[in-house]
């Protein structure tokens, strides 16, 4: 519900400056070459992880959450027309300031605890349903492939360091909505669900086998919303909100991860 509120706030803020014509950031008509758009942004992201003891329904996750926050950056490239979109994206984020969140209190953790991720993904999307009830409201479907590298370090008192590094390959089906009615503003929202498979290595400072590696699989649900607000010519500001829920299962270890990020940046269309 909180995510929905943030998405609506972004969309409402963007819509308030809209006028009623097509923008230069809008996808090119079919007869013309596709529009190319680059976006570079930076922002803030929050991370939460809960370990899971039973992954079947009802999912049995810890009542305590490992939570951190920090800066993030993203670079996007779109090649878009009325009918289709090629979307490539790179994200990176670094979280620190971790604490354990319980229902009644938060417990500060070691400043040495940290998390970083580097995500790359590509999506091919088609918009078979255009002007759906409203001029400029399109519905599209896409498939997405990606790779995620992540590194996390936890410290347990007195001085136990558990460092995990892993790479996942992901595939997802995407449902997207686009609103391109106005000259200066374009809105887009995408919802993806899919699966992941990957490998994780764990370095545990006090374990007999300090390095252990395991394969695992999991699921993902991504929600992305973005508003492009044209400044002049092909230059625009954009703001985006992205949230993802992910589950990861491997032998004798499972967890769910939630990550939300808000980005602001510049877009250039040509």
């Amino acid at each position: 519900m909180r995510h929905l509120e943030i998405v609506l706030a972004i969309l409402a803020a963007a819509a308030s400056s809209a006028s009623a014509q097509t923008s230069s950031l809008a996808p090119a008509p079919s007869a013309e070459p596709p529009t190319r758009i680059w976006r570079v942004g930076a922002g803030y992201e929050a991370l939460s992880i809960r370990d899971v003891s039973r992954s079947g329904r009802p999912v049995d996750a810890s009542p305590v959450t490992w939570e951190g926050r920090g800066p993030g950056v993203e670079v996007q490239y779109d090649r878009t027309s009325l009918r289709r979109l090629h979307h490539a994206q790179f994200n990176a984020g670094w979280a620190g300031g971790f604490e354990l969140g319980t229902p009644l209190r938060t417990i500060p953790r070691s400043p040495a605890e940290k998390f970083a991720h580097f995500d790359g993904r590509y999506e091919y999307r088609r918009y078979p349903f255009r002007d759906l009830g409203l001029d400029g409201l399109d519905l599209g479907f896409g498939v997405e492939g990606g790779a995620v590298f992540r590194s996390q370090t936890q410290i347990f008192d007195p001085a136990i360091e558990v460092r995990q590094r892993g790479t996942d390959v992901t595939v997802a089906a995407v449902v997207a909505g686009r609103f391109r009615r106005w000259r200066s503003v374009q809105l887009e929202i995408a919802w993806g669900n899919g699966m992941a498979v990957g490998r994780m290595s764990t370095r545990h400072s006090t374990a007999a086998e300090t390095d252990a590696t395991a394969w695992g699989g999991g699921w993902l649900t991504d929600l992305a919303a973005r508003a492009d607000v044209r400044l002049s010519g092909g230059i625009a500001l954009f703001t985006s909100y992205f949230t993802t829920g992910r589950g990861r299962y491997q032998s004798h270890g499972a967890s769910t991860t939630g990550r939300g990020q808000v980005m602001i940046g510049v877009a250039y269309a040509r």
Binding site: P58, V64, T102, L104, R105, T206
Partner: protein, 269 residues
């Protein structure tokens, strides 16, 4: 002509409707189905030496939080001593009024979450050894995993927490496990089956047998080899046993059973 365009229009409508149904279905999302549920805040909390107990207001657990904290703190120290490990994390223990309250399997059921230093368990009357064993076992999961790493087998994961139970507040320690083993020799599968995760069934026999065997190894050979064995997978288990103890798993299986029978005989006499 008019008829075929109507037909096309209705087909388009059908396709669009179908697509919207698919969209509605997908929009439930993996996260809604497989993601964790939210946690309620209807708790009172009490701190013991090493634990924060979260109990339901007015519950049996709240009425006995002092003794429960005492039992858990005692186990905490006993585990560190038995395994010769250092750990100083504070564990959050969520004690539910019954199985339905905690969405757990039974009124004597619990789970542990090492990465977030937490456990959940039912806490129902009576205040006896069975309840203490449950809480001690789950607390040991957290301590063992954070000090020894990720377990390689269910045999280790479920056996070791019960192999190091403190008997200050009950009698369900290693002597109980040895006697139980002597009484259930025919029901206990060969250890080669128990250490194989593909054959692990998680029954009470499997829990007790693995705990009994690991308590025996600890008593006879100390904590060092057990720590080396903790992360070993089923596939490599037999070979590693041979390396660490100088004999096969089958040989150790026979010696352990004979020890348990002799232990019971000497206890009775």
């Amino acid at each position: 002509m008019h008829g075929s365009s109507c037909l096309l229009a209705s087909r388009r409508g059908l396709v669009r409707s179908g697509a919207l149904v698919v969209v509605a279905f997908i929009s439930a999302g993996c996260n809604a189905i497989l993601g964790p549920s939210s946690v309620d805040d209807n708790w009172h909390s009490f701190d013991s030496g090493h634990f924060t107990l979260y109990v339901r207001p007015g519950s049996f657990a709240e009425g006995n939080q002092g003794r429960l904290g005492e039992v858990l703190d005692d186990q905490y120290g006993a585990t560190l001593a038995a395994l010769n490990v250092s750990y100083a994390g504070r564990i959050s223990a969520f004690l539910y009024s019954d199985a339905a309250d905690g969405k757990l399997d039974s009124n004597r059921s619990g789970v542990a979450y090492a990465a977030t230093e937490a456990l959940r368990a039912t806490c129902t009357p009576p205040l006896d050894g069975n309840l203490f064993v449950l809480l001690q076992h789950e607390a040991n999961h957290v301590i063992q995993r954070n000090t020894l790493g990720r377990p390689g087998t269910s045999f280790m994961n479920e056996g070791l927490p019960s192999a190091v139970l403190s008997t200050r507040f009950h009698d369900y320690g290693k002597d109980f496990l040895y006697a139980w083993t002597a009484d259930h020799l025919s029901a206990i599968p060969p250890l080669t089956n128990l250490v194989d995760d593909e054959q692990w069934v998680g029954s009470q026999v499997a829990y007790n047998a693995s705990a009994s065997f690991l308590a025996y190894l600890l008593e006879q050979h100390g904590a060092g080899p057990i720590k080396e064995l903790f992360q070993v997978s089923s596939k490599a288990f037999g070979q590693r046993i041979q390396t660490l103890y100088g004999r096969s798993l089958d040989d150790l299986d026979r010696e352990w059973r004979a020890f348990c029978v002799a232990h019971r005989t000497s206890s009775l006499s």
